[in-house]
């Protein structure tokens, strides 16, 4: 019994009246999941409002970049990895992402080494998401509510959760982490419900925000800023940023390339959130996998572009960049730092109560995003344990809550370390930059696996939905080569722009290799330990010759 769809309702190529296959009544054959169900899952894996805010940081990280062109480059680059993942998923449905692809096609030790980068990156991401609950959620929400209600107390409270108050940020972040870990431990259903509720609240708030921003003229926004922050504030902010930040004398190609890397790194990994459902709905079906992957990736980018356009059109491209660069001084001398989106979207909103509701609703994005990252890291531990790379106890599932308590505890501790690192760093960009860089490592190896699959796993590839040709050219190796090139280019670009991304080029450059070496050593140790107990890890993925 397995949940699987009956053969597709395609007809015979020569007789439209004939089906291509008949399925008998047997366990596991089900109808397809609705498109709505699939869309909700895809969306929940990619908290959209969050993606928008993080992507808009490109404007301040790479001054004088053309955001729209950067996003277009990200879309083109993203296609290679989405196609690669879609085809590999069609070939090996339900096996579970980059770790399984690389382990089965290349080598289990390499699979562990490359996935370990993603695992470490997930815990760093969880730390970031926790931190952003304070810095990008609570702080701007309280500050903007304070601004429109003229409450110094709230403005001051907002500032106390800003980046300069590291202990406060850490405490809020740790609280958010413990809350989500606790929910995960209590049961998947409870966690799902809370996450869905938060997601829905945030999504509703975001849609209303967008409608308000679209209906608010640029002139009225300027008047509101000048009214709240003092006469001429808007113009002064723009003027302060004109020298270094704004594209007064045209856009910079170099900065646009940097921004393209940054936009790519915030949009390409949507496969991590969608491949499960793509496998589930269209297991073994190339068209469905491609539709889901490419659809989610491109729709995500188009929505960010539309939302960014609406927001920047109202707020002003130059003003927003300059404000993010620290040139805006709000009521009572308050600043917004990098939490500009929530703050200015709030200022554009009419009515104090609505400002409060919409600003606080935005916080709903952060916890679902945090939960997704925690879940990915927990899932990696379960996979390692399953394959004998970790003790079986790591995969212990509580009979009461049906949740992997040991894995949850380990990931919580790891994420707490990430949380402390972000909170007490000089800039969260340091952690964000390294985290994004690490995330490209498995993409590179998946690209290599896609190129090698025809030779290394002919049995899986030949005649499979992944053996797809366009004009006689096999798509998977080409997409894999693209995936590999994009991954390498992304890491090289990140290292080149290490100053903007605030990390040490040597540390960041060595880290992926260090983690890979650690993964290989880990595999060797696990193999030795297991062999002493009569278990041969080399057999886990070794193909039995059928002939």
């Amino acid at each position: 019994m397995a949940i699987e769809a009956p053969p597709p309702a395609a007809t015979s190529p020569t007789s439209p009246s004939l089906p291509s296959a008949y399925a008998r009544k047997s366990t596991g054959l089900v109808r397809q999941i609705s498109l709505t169900g699939q869309s909700v899952f895809a969306a929940s894996g990619n908290p959209f409002g969050f993606s928008l805010v993080i992507t808009l940081f490109a404007l301040t990280l790479f001054p004088r970049s053309n955001f729209y062109i950067a996003m277009a480059i990200a879309l083109v680059c993203g296609v290679t990895s989405w196609v690669t993942f879609a085809l590999l998923s069609a070939m090996m449905p339900r096996v579970g992402g980059d770790y399984a692809f690389v382990s089965r096609i290349l080598n289990p030790a390499v699979g562990l080494g490359s996935n370990l980068s993603f695992f470490v990156g997930s815990m760093m991401a969880a730390g970031l998401w926790c931190y952003w609950v304070a810095e990008q959620g609570l702080s701007p929400a309280l500050t903007v509510i304070g601004a429109v209600t003229h409450s110094k107390g709230l403005t001051s409270a907002g500032a106390s959760f800003g980046p300069t108050h590291q202990v406060n940020c850490f405490l809020v972040a740790a609280g958010a982490l413990l809350l989500m870990s606790g929910l995960s431990a209590l049961g998947t259903r409870i966690a799902f419900r809370v996450v869905t509720a938060l997601f829905m609240i945030a999504a509703a708030g975001f849609v209303i925000d967008m409608v308000i921003l679209a209906l608010t003229s640029h002139g009225s926004f300027v008047s509101r800023i000048n009214h709240l922050a003092g006469h001429g504030s808007y113009g002064k902010t723009v003027a302060k940023g004109s020298a270094s930040l704004l594209p007064t004398h045209g856009y910079s190609v170099k900065s646009t390339i940097g921004a393209a890397y940054y936009c790519l790194s915030n949009t390409v990994f949507c496969w991590a959130g969608v491949y499960t459902i793509a496998e589930f709905r269209g297991a073994g079906q190339r068209k469905r996998q491609l539709k889901t992957m490419l659809g989610t990736g491109s729709v995500q980018i188009f929505l960010i572009l539309i939302a960014a356009f609406i927001f920047l059109n109202t707020v002003g491209y130059s003003f927003f960049i300059s404000a993010l660069g620290g040139n805006y001084s709000g009521p009572g001398g308050s600043t917004v730092g990098l939490a500009g989106y929530v703050y200015f979207a709030g200022l554009a909103t009419p009515g104090k109560l609505l400002v409060a509701i919409l600003s606080l609703s935005f916080m709903g994005w952060w916890l679902p995003g945090l939960w997704v990252n925690l879940a990915m890291a927990q899932r990696a531990l379960l996979s390692y344990s399953f394959d004998g790379l970790l003790p079986k106890r790591i995969a212990y599932v509580s009979p009461k809550t049906h949740t992997p308590l040991v894995a949850i505890a380990i990931v919580t501790v790891g994420s707490l370390a990430g949380c402390a690192w972000v909170s007490f760093s000089s800039s969260f960009f340091k952690v964000l930059g390294i985290m994004l860089l690490l995330s490209f490592v498995p993409m590179i190896f998946v690209g290599v696996a896609a190129i090698a699959v025809k030779r290394r796993r002919t049995d899986l590839y030949k005649g499979s939905p992944a053996e797809w040709r366009i004009a006689g050219v096999e798509v998977l190796p080409v997409a894999g080569a693209g995936c590999l090139l994009v991954g390498v280019a992304a890491i090289a670009t990140a290292l080149y722009f290490h100053t903007q991304l605030a990390f040490n080029v040597w540390v960041a450059g060595v880290l992926p290799f260090g983690i890979m070496a650690f993964g290989l050593a880990w595999y060797a140790v696990a193999r030795t330990v297991r062999r002493k107990r009569g278990v041969d890890l080399d057999l886990v993925y070794r193909t039995i010759p059928p002939e």
């Binding site: 004939l18 366990t27 054959l29 070939m91 278990v535």
Partner: protein, 328 residues
């Protein structure tokens, strides 16, 4: 809580150790079956056990035309292919757990009739099993490896006869047999599913059947049970929930997972406490878990890709010395 790593090594298993390979739910995949037969020598095991649901679920139509043969399979369209290409396609279809069904348009159109189609399915499935038995006999005869096969809930009763006729393959459903110092009890039936497949029993009857079989067991401590469905509410039995229309139920956008194993199997394992429980049925719940002293294993299934999921288990000194799940 048990220690993460037990002290002491078992590099060299005791002389009386026995090794078995267990796979299940290969659903007609020719490649999986060939791998299963070869797994004996590949892993160096004494026993091969195939735990049910061995037959496929679909017929793929190959139409004979004036210019050759045409079909659609795995997102590929085959139009007017020659005989060699057709043979390769047929093998590819079989490797992925489906059955090629060749005929001219009139013969294929006749499959629209339910009765005719059911008869075609049964004949094709039985023919497939006979081919497998022949292959097993060719490859296993004289190797000293014992091969046990039981049907599962999805398998027609029509396949029992060809399985029982073999000299090499041992048909074990509903029986308790001796494996050296161990005994093995096998049941291919499952609890009731929404699909009403051929071999299903209500939980009470299932428990009764299992207890009846166990009454003849001499040594419960050395008992291996091969029961197709896994014990209820364990890591071995979680599958997406479906409604009356067989639509997967989503919760928060993700498939809602529910236990679908057998309460009878769980009660049986808890009360009899055999040494080892080998299960299948729920392909997506690959796991191993102790229920008391009983190690229960569900190796899962990936038959649609021709990948054989299985478990290698080493037994000795009246305990499970080692076990590992593999994807071969």
């Amino acid at each position: 809580m048990k220690p993460f790593f037990k002290r002491g090594s078992t590099v060299d298993p005791p002389r009386n150790a026995r090794r078995l390979f267990f796979a299940t739910d290969i659903h007609g995949s020719d490649r999986c079956f060939r791998k299963f037969i070869n797994a004996g020598r590949f892993y160096g095991v004494d026993y091969l056990i195939l735990g049910g649901d061995i037959t496929g679920k679909s017929l793929v139509l190959i139409e004979r035309t004036a210019r050759g043969w045409s079909a659609r399979f795995n997102d590929h369209q085959y139009v007017d292919i020659d005989e060699d290409a057709r043979n390769a396609l047929e093998q590819n279809i079989r490797d992925h757990g489906q059955y090629p069904y060749v005929g001219d348009r009139a013969e294929l159109e006749a499959l629209a009739d339910d009765e005719y189609r059911d008869a075609a399915f049964r004949a094709t499935v039985v023919e497939g099993i006979r081919r497998w038995i022949k292959l097993a006999e060719e490859r296993l005869a004289g190797t000293g490896i014992r091969c046990f096969i039981t049907p599962g809930n999805d398998d027609y009763f029509d396949i029992d006869e060809p399985l029982q006729e073999s000299d090499v393959v041992e048909f074990v459903d509903g029986s308790t047999i001796r494996l050296d110092e161990y005994e093995m009890l096998t049941c291919g039936y499952s609890n009731i599913t929404p699909w009403r497949s051929p071999r299903e029993l209500p939980e009470e009857q299932m428990l009764e059947r299992l207890n009846d079989m166990a009454s003849g067991v001499e040594d419960h401590e050395n008992l291996i049970v091969v029961i197709h469905p896994p014990p209820y509410d364990t890591p071995l039995d979680h599958a997406p929930a479906i409604d009356d229309e067989f639509v997967v139920q989503m919760q928060s956008g993700a498939p809602m997972l529910v236990p679908v194993g057998s309460t009878a199997v769980r009660a049986f394992v808890e009360s009899q406490q055999p040494l080892l429980g080998l299960h299948g049925h729920v392909h997506e719940s690959k796991a191993s878990e102790y229920i008391g002293r009983t190690l229960c294993i569900n190796p899962g299934s990936e038959y649609t890709e021709g990948t054989l999921a299985g478990a290698i288990v080493t037994l000795g000194d009246r305990r499970v010395l080692a076990h590992q799940l593999i994807v071969g």
